[in-house]
């Protein structure tokens, strides 16, 4: 069933249509939110919040704009609010401590170490930079789409992306050297 038709049905109060409407976005929203908070339980909780909020506010959605932009905007705003509330959460701090691996030649250990380094670096990025980096590198949105979702200028998107990439480059430098 076409997306717009599903939206119209949900707007008329048909709850059953909501799950079908959200089906293509479940994993994407969860992936985005996981990238923002790097904690499975928090990502799950946030995903549920996003979907609940989307259902409650869908009557305000205008068909003229893009649904995924609208949905992503809800997701990123909730994620940013969540970070503001949980800035000193000890759970999150614990999650991003690097593992005490021997750093041996085993590639799966290296992979795990690399993932932990990525998690640690992402957690330290300013939330707005993290969001832009995820939208570009993981979700594949264009600069224009990111600007629409986050509600800022194109230049701001580009500068945040640049600084985020610089931070990642510095943090991952030892791992990138071996890829020549």
């Amino acid at each position: 069933m076409e997306e717009r038709e599903l939206i119209a049905r949900v707007q008329r109060g048909e709850k059953d249509a909501f799950q079908d409407l959200m089906a293509p976005y479940q994993r994407k929203i969860y992936s985005l939110l996981y990238g923002m908070v790097w904690n499975r339980e928090d990502a799950l909780e946030l995903t549920q919040e996003v979907f609940a909020k989307a259902y409650r506010s869908i009557k305000g959605f205008r068909m003229a704009s893009s649904f995924y932009t609208w949905l992503y905007r809800i997701a990123v705003n909730l994620a940013l609010d969540f970070r503001r509330q949980r800035v000193t959460n000890p759970e999150i701090q614990k999650e991003v401590d690097p593992p005490n691996s021997g750093g041996g030649p085993d590639s799966s250990l290296l992979r795990k170490e690399l993932n932990e380094q990525i998690r640690m670096t992402m957690a330290q990025l300013p939330p707005q930079q993290r969001a832009v980096l995820l939208f570009r590198e993981v979700e594949g949105l264009s600069y224009k789409e990111i600007a629409k979702v986050i509600g800022c200028r194109l230049g701001t998107v580009m500068s945040r992306l640049h600084y985020a990439r610089e931070s990642m480059r510095r943090a991952l430098a030892p791992y990138l050297k071996g890829e020549d």
Partner: protein, 147 residues
């Protein structure tokens, strides 16, 4: 025990007085002259530390044109020429308890067109913006630095 407590209190007071005197000596005032425009240019990495402050202004591009640090004692001022026949004067009025009170003036053709007095704590940034320059506007980022 009481003696130790007394020694501790006296030492703390002494250090507080010493530090306040030391801070009252000279204060570092950092000034950055920035060109803000709506052109799409690569971000200036030298402004990364204040990017969050600049983002409020919603320009697409910020380029650092000049950067100066003044070490000022009370009553001293520093000058910096600006584009468009303008000049910036920064004067330290007083320093107390980690807060620097400064007077900032912008002159054009020798005539004062703007003056502000402000109190700056370390970590705070005062942005003065608006004077037109080339394809954008000038923004002066003024901050009190650690001695």
């Amino acid at each position: 025990m009481k003696k130790l407590l007394l020694i501790g209190i006296v030492s703390t007071l002494f250090m507080a007085i010493l530090s306040s005197v030391a801070l009252g000596e000279e204060v570092g005032i950092g000034v950055r002259v920035i060109l803000a425009s709506h052109q799409e240019k690569a971000p200036d990495a030298r402004l990364q530390d204040i990017q969050k402050n600049l983002d409020t202004l919603n320009y697409s591009s910020y380029q650092l044109l000049q950067e100066r640090s003044f070490l000022l004692a009370q009553g001293q001022s520093g000058q910096l020429p600006l584009a468009g026949n303008k000049e910036l004067h920064v004067k330290l009025l007083q320093e107390q308890g980690g807060t620097a009170e400064i007077a900032v003036e912008i002159l054009q053709g020798g005539k004062r067109i703007f003056k502000t007095t402000a109190k700056l704590k370390k970590g705070g940034t005062l942005l003065i913006g608006g004077p037109k320059h080339e394809e954008g506007v000038l923004i002066l980022a003024i901050a009190a630095q650690a001695p």
